[in-house]
């Protein structure tokens, strides 16, 4: 029993580990070809792990990735591909900055209020895609991509027209922000200005995600719908209801992705706030195999690579090598995962047959 479980864990993580190794090898080749020393590059990159500051930065970067990967993974669990986390996040960012900034509440309440606004806005935006799928059979990949464009544009326009607050005497667009959130809506730091406490929220989200998907009736129905929609339907699971609920949960989580940047760092909305963190969640979910523990470690890895990549420039190695590396990891994990699954399926089938044979 326990051995079986261990084997499952090993097989499941094998493809991710292999993918990382493949990416390291390929990037080493690229470095060699371009005349750089891969050993030096990697020792600089991974040597950064000894610095507390880098580790704190890693955790900071990993925080939104954990949340956005959870948002993507809950959709994946029932074969829904929510590519719209980025757009949902952005819509939620502006609404939270504006609405959260307009009210005055005691600190813990104010934080909770901001979370609610963020989740509601994110869910509203993803809910459009869910509604379109259920009512008009619009593929969620298409609708969420389109809603990304619409969301980004609407937010940019609304921000520019109504909410921007130019700092006195400054005209550089970098400093264009909304009004600052009141202090009561700031999420406290764990280590002053170095590590924000939303990390704890992200970890709690992953734990809740695990409980929801693997321990509840709803989670079972969600996984059943993903594993075989026909069987789930015949067993009385309402597929439309499942699509809407999982899209709403996914969007609500997506709304929280930007909160580290908004409530824990900048405390106001600006144009490139939390940029790409929604998209990067897709990669983290893929590498983490849609499992909370996998997502946790994948987010740490991506966070670390992002934080440490700057060091490479000191050695005159372009830090884009890290972007290439993450790209290869994602591509490799998809390919290797399929191969590992086929091999493992055959292994299980053979073993089951042998055991049945032996028993009779």
């Amino acid at each position: 029993m326990n051995r079986q479980r261990l084997q499952r864990v090993l097989v499941t993580s094998a493809s991710s580990v292999l993918a990382i190794i493949v990416a390291l090898v390929v990037c080493a080749v690229i470095l060699l070809v371009t005349g750089k020393d891969p050993v030096k590059a990697y020792s600089t990159l991974f040597g950064a792990a000894s610095e507390t500051k880098v580790l704190q930065g890693m955790l900071n970067r990993a925080t939104p990735l954990m949340i956005s990967a959870a948002a993507v993974a809950i959709g994946f669990k029932m074969n829904l591909f929510n590519i719209g986390v980025e757009g949902q996040m952005r819509v939620a960012l502006l609404s939270t900055a504006v609405i959260g900034g307009a009210v005055d509440l005691p600190a813990p309440l104010h934080v909770a209020f901001c979370f609610m606004i963020a989740m509601a806005t994110g869910a509203l935006w993803s809910g459009i895609a869910g509604w379109l799928k259920v009512k008009r059979n619009v593929n969620e990949v298409i609708s969420t991509i389109m809603l990304n464009f619409i969301g980004l544009s609407v937010v940019a326009w609304a921000f520019d027209t109504f909410f921007r607050l130019d700092e006195e005497g400054e005209s550089t667009s970098l400093l264009v922000k909304t009004k600052d959130l009141p202090r009561s809506a700031w999420f406290p730091d764990l280590v002053d200005r170095r590590l924000n406490g939303i990390l704890i929220v992200a970890v709690v989200i992953l734990i809740l995600f695990w409980i929801l998907v693997w321990k509840t009736k709803f989670g079972f129905q969600l996984r059943a719908s993903g594993a075989n929609a026909g069987a789930a339907r015949a067993s009385g699971v309402n597929p439309k209801r499942m699509i809407v609920i999982s899209m709403l949960i996914s969007g609500a989580l997506a709304g929280l992705v930007g909160m580290r940047a908004l409530m824990g760092d900048v405390h106001a909305y600006q144009n490139n706030l939390a940029e790409q963190q929604g998209f990067n969640g897709i990669a983290v979910a893929l590498l983490g195999r849609n499992h909370p523990l996998g997502i946790f470690f994948s987010a740490l890895l991506f966070g670390f690579l992002g934080e440490a990549s700057g060091r490479l420039q000191l050695d005159d190695i372009p830090k884009e090598i890290v972007t290439i590396m993450t790209g290869i990891i994602v591509l490799a994990v998809v390919i290797i995962n399929e191969a590992v699954k086929r091999w493992d399926d055959r292994r299980i089938q053979r073993r089951a047959a042998a055991m049945v044979e032996a028993a009779s």
Binding site: T216, F218, A227, G230, D345, R346, I348, R351, M355
Partner: protein, 517 residues
Amino acid sequence: MPEHPQARGDFAVELRGITKTFPGVIANRHVSLAVRPGTIHAIVGENGAGKSTLMKTLYGMHQPDEGSITVDGVTSVFRSPTDAIEAGIGMVHQHFMLADNLTITENIILGNEPVTSRGRIDFVAANTRINALMTMLGVDFDLDAPVSSLGVGQRQRVEILKVLFRGARILILDEPTAVLVPQEVSELFVILKRLVREGSTVIFISHKLDEVLENCDEITVIRQGTTVAHTSPRETSRRGLAELMVGGDLPDPSGRDTHIRDSVLLDVDRIDVAGATIGSKLALDQVSLRVRSGEIVGIAGVEGNGQFELCEAILGLIATDHGSVSLEGRDITHTPTRERINSGLSYIPFDRHREGLLLDAPLWENTFLGREDDRQLSSVLFTRRRAIEADSRAVIERFGVRTPSEQAPAFALSGGNQQKLVVGREMASDPKILLAAHPTRGVDVGAQAAIWEELRNARDNGMGVLLISADLEELIGLSDTILVMFDGRITAHLDPTEATPELLGTYMTGEVQEVDS
């Protein structure tokens, strides 16, 4: 012109000692087959007996572990269908492989296009050859028409033309009549007989004994992965062939000492269900039926005459337009599926892979599916894993599912064991009404007897069963009443003590219809 194969050997196809194992199951064991040229040679056997595996071996879709293949006296190894095609073998699959939006000519020449000296497709040459083939078969097509405009029988003929166009002299037809209506079946045999007169050889896979006895020259019987007999229609009878197929005595589904009670459990009253596309005729047209406690009501019919829609409508998976469905006198016409299931409706689906199982999930999750609201297995919010696993072990035990444990994924089980698991799950909740669609499809004889036994026991305890089956013996043996469905309507009520497969057959084809009483 096909060359005459007699010149090179006694047999067009000879398979010797073919063994093919898939992980855990032996699909074929020491199979021998000898097909004389210029004959229609039938291969008969139950579902899962290994007919298709054998034909895939012959067509090069996989390689046998042991044994040899000899075609026209030449022993060869087929690494792929390309090799088999080269040797003159053609396969007409059960599911047609045609591109809907291409014309008939384009489909026929696809992958084998004749080209002009300037490198373009030579449609003139193609059409000339196709026309010659059509004359030989006695069929006629507008070759420029798109395949999408063709019916099922016509598509099959296009498939046959396509195979001949590639130069096949030995044609394998995998259950070709399963999709055809009766007239099309006889038309198909006219074509096949012309083919063999012209020197081709036909290997015909089927489990429909009547058409085999009527039309084929020789018969090879396959049972449990191996060839058990070689015979011909002159030497055997329907009964004899059936016994060869199942091995010894036919299992007897009957046992007619039932106590039907008065209470009506399921009452379907004149329901309509719209067709699949706008404007098409109704999938269900004024269908009414009642199942009482302790009663098995059998539905006979050629697949696709509304049986599937009937089950879906009773379960609430598709909307009904008129009429009502009641369970124990309670109107459930607008009740959600899950609530219907919770009030005692169970469903053994038509296709266990499509609608019955989570193949990648462990068995304990599979036996839990559809029973999430069972308070022994879960609380309001959370699942109780230990209880679910224990319950799963009980189902496995009771139905003799052969598996290492309840932790094994469903895909690791053989088809028969998967079916036993589905039946076991649906019976585990002690349903009041069981919709059983082909409950013993693809299971071996022993499992079939076990499933029948469970159905009978549950019926004696007051369960009502709506039994849908293509196995007429099963239907006649188990049912207390038999209804025939044709074209979305119930066209006959029969007493199983008077029904014979032949009689059912005439109703199923729609030739004879009784006015709905």
